[in-house]
Structures are given as structure tokens and as C-alpha cells.
Symmetry: C2
Subunit: 171 residues, 2 copies
């Protein structure tokens, strides 16, 4: 019953081994100072909070950001948008298609460079952004972290520096 099952390189026989660590609480030690680890855990939380707030209206994580940037930069080229938001071209193609089907954005092939795609919000898209802007940015908030306003600003500042977003040396 041990060898021939699906694929299981020996082991997992019942064992009297080094006494198991008392259960109940697992200690992370240095991991609690690892930025990579903390960033991952934090992003998982952020996603949970996002879905809790926006799943009901069928909004996906990247979509609002994309619409927001298009609103603020009408006619932006698709590739440049992708690069700015750290979204890969293949993925951006899918997102744009979905948003276009929902009639929230418009794709325009300009005559002066027919390889590229320029993006605009439709009226519906603009209305959508207007309607959910406060919810997304947290004036109204789905942000159930217990951080104060000052801490939020501080955290945002450090993340901008960590990631190099915005560039101009930040604050």
C-alpha cells in the first residue's frame, strides 16, 4: 500500500521521529522581517478586501486601474498603458477585450500608425469610474486595515520608493 499508488517516493510511513513541534502556533522568526514575504501576504489581504467589495459588481482587480489611467490619459497607447501598470501585453489584450465587450472602453487604430491601439473610455466607462471612484480609492473604504491616515501615507511612500513607481524621486 505504500509503493504503488500514484507516485510517492517512499517515505510517509508512520513514524516515531523527532518529537513534533508542539502545535498551536507556528513561529516565523526572520520571515516576519522579510519584505518579500510580507509583500506577498499583504497582497493576498488586499485581494481579499478588493473582492469583498467589488466582486458583486463583477469588477476584477486590474480593471479599475486600467479604466482610471485611460480616463486620465485619453488616447493612451495600449502598450504604454501595459508597461505603466506592470501588466504583460498578452494579459492586457485580454483585459482590453473584456472591457470593450462591456462597452466601457473604445479601441481606436490611428491612421498615422496602424500597428498601435489607442484607448478611450466610453460614456458608460466614464460613468462607471465616476460611480466607483470613491469606493476604490478609499474615501469611502473597503480598506479594513487598521492603519491611520498618516500610516497609510507613510506606507504608500515607502512602497513607491521600494517599487520605483512614479520615478521623480518621490517626495
Amino acid at each position: 500500500m505504500n509503493e504503488g499508488d500514484t507516485f510517492r517516493p517512499d517515505q510517509d510511513r508512520p513514524g516515531v521521529e523527532a518529537a513534533p513541534d508542539t502545535d498551536g502556533a507556528v513561529s516565523l522568526h526572520e520571515l516576519e522581517n522579510s519584505l518579500g514575504f510580507l509583500l506577498r501576504i499583504s497582497q493576498v489581504r488586499a485581494y481579499e478586501r478588493f473582492y469583498a467589495a467589488f466582486d458583486e459588481i463583477g469588477l476584477r482587480p486590474g480593471e479599475f486601474s486600467v479604466m482610471w489611467v485611460i480616463l486620465r490619459n485619453p488616447g493612451v497607447r495600449q502598450g504604454l498603458l501595459a508597461e505603466t501598470l506592470g501588466i504583460k501585453p498578452a494579459q492586457m489584450t485580454k483585459m482590453i477585450r473584456r472591457l470593450e465587450v462591456q462597452d466601457r472602453i473604445r479601441r481606436v487604430i490611428p491612421d498615422d500608425d496602424r500597428r498601435s491601439v489607442r484607448l478611450y473610455l466610453t460614456e458608460g466607462g466614464e460613468a462607471f469610474v465616476r460611480d466607483h471612484r470613491d469606493a476604490f480609492f478609499g474615501h469611502d473604504d473597503y480598506h479594513n486595515h487598521g492603519l491611520s491616515d498618516a500610516e497609510c501615507r507613510q506606507l504608500a511612500h515607502l512602497l513607491r520608493r521600494y517599487s520605483g513607481v512614479g520615478r521623480k524621486a518621490d517626495d
Copy 2:
């Protein structure tokens, strides 16, 4: 040539539309203060840095963390490990299998509860953690963010609070 291609709801005809935003730089506006957005971008950077440093030895993002926690909590139950690290059970099963095939961890089915799996590092696993510990935690670093030590600690502190990791009210 417009309608019957693959699937393309009208649009994308060449257009003279609202003059496109001057290219060159895209402005993010409020997005630069969005923690959700900044966390995502930061984690993308963290992954890039991780792969740049550890891809050559075939180490995947979650694996070192898992080995580290097992080293510090020998005999930890697989499910508890998963919960602690925010990894879903199904995914944990795959990771554990891979690490077992690499002979870095040992799965032990305890006699007192034969549903569960307790995890230990092999000698090779312990050696591996010893060998890469400094590289991973950044005494030696692949961490090319420009943050000072104090800023790193501050960022870690805020991320712990944001994510609720560690629990005991942090500092």
C-alpha cells in the same frame, strides 16, 4: 474585414477621435496613493528580484519560506503550515511533493492521527537552508531596492500591521 474575424465587436476602425494624449509619460494620479496598486507593483518587483537571484538554483518563491518554517518548527502539521503562510491546501500539496522529490523534506504520518502529515527537513534540506539563508534574508542581498535599513524596518512594520501577520499587536 472588420466583422467576421475572430470576435471583435465593431469598433477599432481607424478613427479621427479626440486627439490622443501626448505620449511619452502616463500619469497615474490618485493611483500613486492606492495601497492595492502599490502592493501589486511592489510584489512584481520583489518577484523579479527573487528570480534574478534564485532562478539559477531552481528555487521557487514559496519554497524557501516553507523550508524555513519547517526548520524552525520541525514536525509542523502541513495544514497549519499552509494556513500560516497563506498558501492554499491544494497548492501546498504540490509544493510539498516537489520538495520531497528533491529530498529536502520528509513527510511523516503520525500514529496518533493518521489523516495528518508532519513535516521535517532532511539533512540536505537543512544544509540548503543554511547555505542560502543569508542570501534570502538579505544580509547578503538581492534586494536592490534603494531603501535604508531604517526604512526597511519601517516598511516591514507597516506591512505587518496592514496584513495582520504575527498578530500580537506587532511592536
